[in-house]
Amino acid sequence: MRSMDGIAWAGSAMVAARTRLEIATANLANVSTDGFARVVAQGRMTPEGVSVLRQRDTAGHGPMRRTGRDLDLAIVGPGAFEVSSGGTRSATRAGSFARERDGTLSDPQGRKLLAGARAVRVPEDARIDERGRVLDGEGAVIARIPLPAGSTIRSGFLESASVDAIHEMIDVMSAERSFESAQKVVSSIDKTREKSATDVARVK
C-alpha cells in the first residue's frame, strides 16, 4: 500500500469530483432516452484516497408515458426485456418494438426481443397482454416474455428516463465546487511546500 500525502488525498478528491461530473452529464444527456436508468455516484474512502463508483440505479423507475402504439411496452415493477443483437444479449427497459418482415420484434437499435432463449416471432395481428403473454389474433398464446413475479406489462406505454434534471444539475454544480475546493487544497499544500523549500533555507 502506498502511503498518501496531503496532495495525493486532495488529488484523489479532484478525480472523484471529475467522475461525479461525468456521471451527472451522462445522466443529463439521457434525459430523453426511454427506459434509461440513471447512474449514481457512490463515493468511498479507500487507502488510495476517495474513489467514486458508477452504479446503475435499477430500483427507481422512470415515469410512464402514453404513446398509443401497441408494440410500445412498459414494464410496471422490476424486470427488463431481454434483447439480442448479433449474439450479444442485453437487458433493456425501453420497450419500443416494431414487427419485422420475418415476424421478429426489434427495438430502434435493431435488437430482437427474446422470450427465453429464442427471438419472439409474431403474426401481424399479435398483441401482448399485461402478463407478458404474446397472443395471436385468435387469442392463442404464442410466446411468453419472462417477467419477475408481480411485474406487469402495459402496452401502448413507454417508460421515460428515470433522470431528474434538477437533481443532476445540482450534482453538476456541487461536483464543480468540490473540484474547486480540492484544487485550493492542492494549491495551498503546494504553497506550504514551496515555503519550506525556499524560505527555510533563507532563514539562517
Binding site: 461530473l21 452529464t25 451522462a26 443529463l28 425501453a94
Partner: protein, 242 residues
C-alpha cells in the same frame, strides 16, 4: 473531463435533433392527414461501461388516428381506421396519404393539394356532384341520373409506422412496412370512409409545445454540463499557478 464534455455535447446534439422533429410536427399541424413523429434516443455505452452520453436514433412515425372534422369541400373524404388513399403522380409512381382533400381537375381526375391523382376514380365532365358510399363506391349525380364512376379502396400496410415520409402527409412504401393490401372500406373491424370530412393532423399543439419546452430545457441543461466540464479544465490548468 473529456468524457463529461463529450457526454454533455452528445446530449445537446440529440436534443437539437429532437427539436427539429417537434418543429416539423408543429409546422404541419394544419395539414390534413399529417402524422407526427417522435425522436427516439439510446444510451451510448461501450462494453458495459455506462456514461458515454446519448445518441438520437431518428424520428419514428406515430400512426395514430387524427380527429375527423366536417369540412366544406365537395370531394373531401376521410379514413376512419387504418390505411391510406393510394395516389399516383405524373410519372406513375405510387404514394400513400390520409389527406382526403381532393379537388376535381380538368381531366376529370380527383387530385390532392400536391397534384397527385386518386387511384380508381374518374369524374365525367358533366357530373354535378359526387357521393362516396361507405363501401368506397363513388357515385356521380348528373342532370337526370346517377352513375358509379369509380371505387376508392384503402391501402393497408401491416406496419404503417415503417413507411417513409416523403413530406407533408405523403408516404412511400418500404419493404419494412410489409405487403400492401387493398381493402374495401366499410367492412366490420376494417377502415371506414367518411365522406364530407377530413382527418386533422394527429399532432397535438399543446403536447408539441410541451415537448419543445422540455427539449429546450434539456438542451440548456446539457449546455451547462459543457460549461461545468470546461470550468473544471480551467481550474485544473490553474493548478500550476496556484
Amino acid at each position: 473531463m473529456d468524457r463529461a464534455l463529450f457526454a454533455a455535447a452528445s446530449g445537446m446534439a440529440a436534443q437539437q435533433q429532437n427539436l427539429d422533429t417537434i418543429a416539423d410536427d408543429l409546422a404541419n399541424t394544419d395539414v390534413a392527414g399529417f402524422k407526427g413523429s417522435s425522436q427516439r434516443f439510446a444510451e451510448l455505452a461501450a462494453a458495459g461501461e455506462p456514461g458515454l452520453g446519448t445518441v438520437a436514433l431518428g424520428a419514428h412515425l406515430l400512426m395514430t388516428q387524427g380527429k375527423l372534422a366536417k369540412s366544406g369541400g365537395p370531394f373531401d373524404v376521410a379514413i376512419d381506421g387504418p390505411g391510406f388513399f393510394a395516389v399516383v403522380d405524373a410519372a406513375g409512381r405510387r404514394a400513400y396519404t390520409r389527406d382526403g382533400e381532393f379537388q376535381r381537375a380538368a381531366d376529370g381526375t380527383l387530385r390532392n393539394a400536391n397534384g397527385l391523382r386518386l387511384d380508381g376514380v374518374r369524374v365525367p365532365a358533366d357530373a354535378l356532384s359526387l357521393q362516396v358510399a361507405d363501401d368506397g363506391t363513388v357515385r356521380a349525380a348528373f342532370a337526370a341520373s346517377t352513375r358509379t364512376v369509380g371505387r376508392i379502396r384503402i391501402a393497408v400496410f401491416p406496419a404503417p409506422d415503417r413507411l417513409r415520409s416523403t413530406g407533408g402527409a405523403l408516404f412511400a412504401a418500404t419493404p419494412e412496412a410489409g405487403r400492401l393490401r387493398l381493402v374495401v372500406p366499410g367492412s366490420e373491424n376494417g377502415p371506414k370512409l367518411r365522406f364530407g370530412m377530413l382527418e386533422r393532423s394527429n399532432v397535438s399543439i399543446i403536447e408539441a409545445m410541451m415537448q419543445i419546452l422540455s427539449a429546450q430545457r434539456a438542451y440548456e441543461a446539457n449546455a451547462k454540463g459543457v460549461q461545468a466540464a470546461d470550468e473544471m479544465l480551467r481550474i485544473a490548468n490553474n493548478l500550476q499557478r496556484g
